[in-house]
Amino acid sequence: MPPLYLDHNATQPLKPAARDALLAALAVTGNASSVHGYGRAQRRLLDQARAQVAALADLPPEGVVFTAGASEANNLALCGLPATAWLVSAVEHPSALAVRPEAQRLPVDADGLVRPADLAAALAALPAPALVVIQAANNETGVVQPLADLAPLVRAAGGWLHVDAVQAAGRLPRALWAAGADSLALSAHKLGGPQGVGALLLARPTPLAPLIAGGGQERRRRAGTEPVALIAGFAAAATAAIADQAGEALRLLALRDLLEAGLRRLAPDCQVFGQAAPRLPNTTAFAVPGVAAETALAALDLAGVAISSGSACSSGKVEPSHVLAAMGVAPELARGALRVSLGWTTTAADVDRFLAVWKDHLTRLKATAA
């Protein structure tokens, strides 16, 4: 039986349109900064791709700064944007949490949500302009932040709102992740594009100190020869995401409801994290008391099923998730947390297969315990 991949928040398989665009661009040579025909052809591909990626967020193309990925985009925002204070939500990705040790943490409630009152209070206590970093949707729980309520508070305080939209872009309507943001971090491979490319999108002109200095690429905001094939693949994935988002969201939501109903049926004490909050349609983070994540992952892997215990970044480290800790989840329960994330390749049969394997695991655990 082929392996079953249910770890789409770690990385998504490349969409066919993205693969085609990438391979087509890989077949032609040229450096986009060269003035000869080969260079100009690359430049045209790059300009077109920039417009496509900008269209995903409905922002101006000149605000798109291509980077090696979202980690770099978050670092670039936190290091390069002018600010005198930094306010970072406690459930951010490590690439946003680690950059400014002096940053203030913005707490979340038990559902994983940033409360507008907390944001307002934190902003009032900080010198302006503050750079506020909030995810549109969390990579581990899928919880979607109320950006429509939060963005006006940042604006009123004269701050800058940087939204890590890595998990939300392509999965949610644009209004839920792009509206009100002053800048956005995007990752190609989380929306069906290739690994190795991402972008920082600026909603309006701003000074931005480059992280990577050198030639004049990306309007002097990010040096290095542009990887046009990767960028073309990113753009094709972005265009596909615009077309597919609404339909995919409904389809995945139906699959996830199936999944969560099954989880509860098999273990009535199963807890789904962030359940009361709006969530991405594809993500379920859950734990069953007494079921350890490590053994579950090993058993699932033996059965050819790939899921995750949380964020894939801190490779190999068995640490309780900082996201669940911020939500006040007890460490014993957090240690059993598993994440199933669905994507464009997932079918109803896949969900059934996962539930069958999960059922076997629970049965075996019960038998051993008895």
């Binding site: 770890d7 998504q12 690439s95 699932l300």
Partner: protein
Amino acid sequence: MTNLAPRPTYLDYQATTPVDPRVVEALLPWLTENFGNPHSANHRLGWEAADAVEQARAQVAHLINAEPREVIFTSGATEANNMAIKGAVRFRKQHEERPGIVTLATEHKCVLESAKAMGREGAEVTVLPVEPNGLVDLDRLAAAITERTALVSIMAVNNEIGVIQPLAEIARLCHAQGAWLHSDAAQAAGKIPLDVRALDLDLVSLSSHKLYGPKGIGALFLRRRPRVRLEPLFDGGGQERGQRSGTLAPFLCVGFGAAAAIAEQEMAAESDRLWILHRRLQQRLAEGIAGIVFNGDAERRIPGNLNIAIPGIDAQALLKALPELALSTGSACTSAEVEPSYVLSALGLPDALAAGGLRIGLGRMTTVAEVDLAAERITAAASRLRQAA
């Protein structure tokens, strides 16, 4: 498609190289069936991707005789150069009272810009001139390196004029003062033997797309014994031993690894072939164009990079007269700016001659017929332009 004009002949292999079809074949599976995140520690798809990344790392390491764990993947040589220079200077300035950086006027723009950025952070920046042949003056360099020098950054091979710097001698001067030596080897790796042990290098930047691999990936060699330590350029998931956060792209790593392995295997034969083409082109141009100047040292250079200047002829005019050839006036990163090359100016060429600089880059796909065509067209264009003047 109505435009059936033949594609211009590509003679700009220092700007970028085509991806070798064997490299495309190697990376293809990693675009389709094997798509795991190499940092997913929970399942087989992740482990397989991680294994592929490690195999590629070993291939890249082998090319420069490094240990695999000394190789950090980056998004390219520009990032690697930024990482090496900013990381080493920031670390040693803070922990070892070594705030100095010494580099050359002919370095790649990203090296000079990184050094400048360190100057803004309080580092002591020394930018040394070069000899008229493009090589470093070792006496002057020795005088510039002190016990306050954190890092010396000198490229292995120049991107505009192709000269090879004497890295082994430079390393001796650096280490006598406890300074680390970083070398931007984007133009050298895969073209000339580059042994980090024999040369005694501390940090080396590599680029995949300059050696027939994909764009968007490069690497930094980071010596382990004695240990070279850097402040990371950016933070996050702590990938690449904490030196470089961000999800690695297995298909790019695999492509880079395959490109490195091919380059290593074919280096000797390809170098011989390129020298034949190089000498053939040089001879024809010298015979056809009176007074033509070949910039950069005649002996200590790589084959396949000719930088010419023709007295009385402006490079832009020459380029315009040669639409059938894809050439450049200098580094691609700066070629959009129409001003004399700072590299040629650093050789002491007068502006008039520096403005005449034209770079001809030969590479793996270049044929004898293409070289002959280039010689004939450049000679004819030069002669036309001279008559018109």
